[in-house]
């Protein structure tokens, strides 16, 4: 993941001590070859987990989750952020967004997560982990098995990933950011 680290150092823009703008890599523009490599890496890390579906949440996680699902040869499901023309049978969790300062409902149709499924969650960034906790709650409610979560970038100075690992849930992050203080991106 040295190349990803270089891209983060070169193109990440520090917005505050807590927020790193990664628009040119993950959140607004993506490099498909880089994303493909990340998907292959996640697939390799979870290849023995007999995964049946990859789950992410719109929007920034979709491309890397797609690349992972393609490598694992399983369907991709992306949770929606509100109710729009979906079936009545939905799982809905209300989650705050650290970076956006708003609360959203994340929604998955129960049709697409069945008790027989073994789910791998993929997302781009974890900070406080609210989106991930919402997805985990949805999987638990569905009766499906959660095999773990693959996250491109973990903001290790925030508590989300640590809290989730404490619940014996496997969280694999490809790059850890230890600090954004004093205008410097410190990677692990």
């Amino acid at each position: 993941m040295e190349y990803l680290k270089q891209r983060i150092q070169n193109e990440g823009k520090i917005v505050s001590d807590n927020v790193l703008n990664l628009d040119s890599i993950l959140n607004h523009q993506v490099d498909p070859k880089l994303i493909q490599q990340l998907g292959v890496e996640f697939a390799a890390r979870f290849h023995d987990q007999e995964i049946t579906k990859v789950l992410t949440i719109e929007s920034s996680g979709i491309s890397v989750a797609y690349a992972t699902a393609l490598a694992l040869e399983v369907p991709l499901v992306f949770a929606r952020r509100k109710k729009t023309l979906m079936s009545d049978n939905i799982y809905c969790e209300r989650v705050p967004s650290f970076t956006k300062g708003i609360v959203t409902d994340i929604v998955v149709s129960s049709e697409f997560i069945q008790p027989i499924d073994r789910i791998l969650i993929i997302d781009d960034i974890i900070a406080n982990g609210d989106a991930l906790k919402g997805l985990i709650n949805i999987i638990h409610r569905s009766g499906a098995q959660l095999t773990g979560a693959g996250i491109v970038i973990e903001k290790a100075f925030q508590s989300g990933a640590k809290e989730i690992r404490k619940k014996d849930i496997r969280v694999e992050s490809l790059v850890q950011i230890n600090s954004l203080e004093n205008g410097i991106i410190v990677l692990a």
Copy 2:
């Protein structure tokens, strides 16, 4: 595209004479191998256009736009539906959503579309074409060249694609839906 047509016939759920729910194929769950084929098809149709970037709008278009960008070996930019932690230099267009009955602002950072770019727009569905018209306006304002648009499913009984083609813009759709009346999906 016979396989895509079969999937639409088998899994599409008619919501009304105007709206087809394609959650299991495009809008909530995707089959990565199918999406990959669609991306390769779009790349083949536009291969001689010297495209430098693929542009889509979050969220349902991202996976097929990613697959197209990967096949063309160019970056993917996805327009966001509101302003959130982006640079000050943005192009913003207000567009209505036919299916959702709401108005949203679609936003692209000017950093990611330059006058030197040759842009291919990719999206999942065209109905009245409001999202596509918004993206086209953004490209025109940026000074970049628009090479055309690749759309997975065209609702041919609505006017969006026709109106855009009248402006001499190339719109390639992989499947055309001629009617959803009387509970029957009629494909071209």
